[in-house]
Subunit: 349 residues, 2 copies
Amino acid sequence: MSTRPRSTRPAVGITEVARRAGVSPGTVSNVLNRPERVAEATRLKVEAAISELDYVRNSSGSSLRSGRSDSVGLLVLDVTNPFFTGVARGVEDEAAEAGLAVVLLNSAESQDRQRRNVRLLAEQRAAGAVVMPVDDDLSDLLWLSHQGTSWVALDRGDVAEDVGCSVSVDNHAGGLAAGRHLIGLGHERITFLTGPFAIEQVRRRHEGLRDAFTDAGMDPDAHVRVVEQPMLNPQQGERAVDTVLAGGPRQRPQAVFCANDQLALGLMKGLGRRGLRVPDDISVVGYDNVDLADLVHPGLTTVAQPKYDLGRTAMRLLGSELNDPGHRHERVLFTPELVVRGSTAAYRP
Amino acid sequence: MSTRPRSTRPAVGITEVARRAGVSPGTVSNVLNRPERVAEATRLKVEAAISELDYVRNSSGSSLRSGRSDSVGLLVLDVTNPFFTGVARGVEDEAAEAGLAVVLLNSAESQDRQRRNVRLLAEQRAAGAVVMPVDDDLSDLLWLSHQGTSWVALDRGDVAEDVGCSVSVDNHAGGLAAGRHLIGLGHERITFLTGPFAIEQVRRRHEGLRDAFTDAGMDPDAHVRVVEQPMLNPQQGERAVDTVLAGGPRQRPQAVFCANDQLALGLMKGLGRRGLRVPDDISVVGYDNVDLADLVHPGLTTVAQPKYDLGRTAMRLLGSELNDPGHRHERVLFTPELVVRGSTAAYRP
DNA sequence: GAGGGTTGTTGACACGTTTCAATCCGGGTG
DNA sequence: CACCCGGATTGAAACGTGTCAACAACCCTC
């Protein structure tokens, strides 16, 4: 007979530990949750029993009893969105410190799937959630609060403070910074290459760009042209080349500001295929500062969002909402930062 | 008095639904779990009560009772690893179809954190887990099986079939394909730019490359040089340029096969900075086919791994392990595919 | 009309934890 | 010596669900 453990072991719970330590279940519970209330000697006995029996606590039990679980949801638009990974890391780290587990749920841009996921969170009696809402319709989230699960909205600065917290980045400031940079380089004909204007973030970036011209005493209508594509991915960026360049060399933009790095990278590929050089023939600015913006040649000038801090802050806010009884909803706004690389240069007539 | 719901509602459980429907709790449970066992009329009554009371099931309760929760863990090396997102999508989709929630846990390349995460899964009595192990030490996973949570290893083909399932991609075949491609283009001096050889995947790719030479009747030792960097990221790729090019134009490789797209992209950036053109002066092959491999100029020839299918298959295997009592551990091996783009060209002396 | 089978429903219990009032004990005080 | 106090521990009662043996009602057959 070896000491090899049975493949299915008899469930060992708090009660069995109690028996082994010659103590009541309540005491074991105290050892686990409020060790200060229990005498040194008994604590040691119990801890010994715990490790001898290789006891692991059953979180279903405690969630059931306390009415709330110790996991939080991270409801994300799209796992493949490069913006997401940075945020996830921030949320993960902060949650780990608070002893919370993160449940990743993917809405895949679908309203229907978002609803299913919200429901799942409610069933789990999740402690809270960090959510990137799929669209302007917040009814799912309101229902969730009503179920007793609080949340923090990500990148949705327009959430009223009486319904929930939000953490976002100032898109207007980002557009403004990009605009100023290009104007400073002497560019006067700028195209804003974007996804659907239905997306609030995109609209704000556009306004920022226009305000940069206004601030410089120039009429935005005369200098900013818009090319709108149905999606914010590289394929759309590449496809947009024709439209962007339409009108011949005299008409074509001196610089393109893209609502997204993905679009920008696609566009640069398309430009290269057309024999146009960046930044000699045309400057390009992106938005997001994805990891690989630094790897293309030339490097992509872009507006960096503090992804990690965004996630981390959202989770911290959620923590405060969970623990601090006097919590008031808060709206945190980060300011993005322009990262200048090789894809922009002074205009040479 | 408006009909606005109280902000904290009285907990409504299966019993309250039962009362409302004039039926016993057991019946409500049956309606939820085995609707076929209950008569049409009562089913409708119960369903009505459920929606009137806006009942949502409490998964803590059911997990406690059944001893197993309905969520699976996805234990990932590093959320920022580009390989991961594709896998995650596959796991997500398959899990969603099976009605399972995915708990994302990030090991951040740390053995210690992996251990904490495994423990968390045990506490949650997770149904199962899809795991990318942090290193060769499988003791955490064995402990997890012993706790009754089964798992599927990802990209770890060396897991013995008597301890668990595994899904992986044939790294040897990938190296072989890359090697054949380059040899076919007439290249004879090839450098293998890689991360630490301690990583099994990397070793296998190297062997594949060497075997391509052997198969062609050439001595690998004479044609393959190795440059080993401490990590598999773009910075290391860029930094490696000096070593790769050492020895002057007559000695330098005609082509570089990188263990990783990240390395390859970094290398290409470094080569560009040195004034060397890809593929005219030197050909480059990567590994992984990350999204942006198609966006750099020239496009990166690379070995594509079926990330999505990998995740999906892992989750499917896990499902079979959970439901099928006669389950035998399985080892699935995918074959990678070479994607030829602009970064490789025939050797021109 | 008694017996037997089928279909639907019931009650009660168990899962593992936390909580809280009640109890126990030892030492200090009047 | 009676009393009380405070710290340490106990025991029992929930939390919401799933299971299962038992029971009720019904139909069919001989």
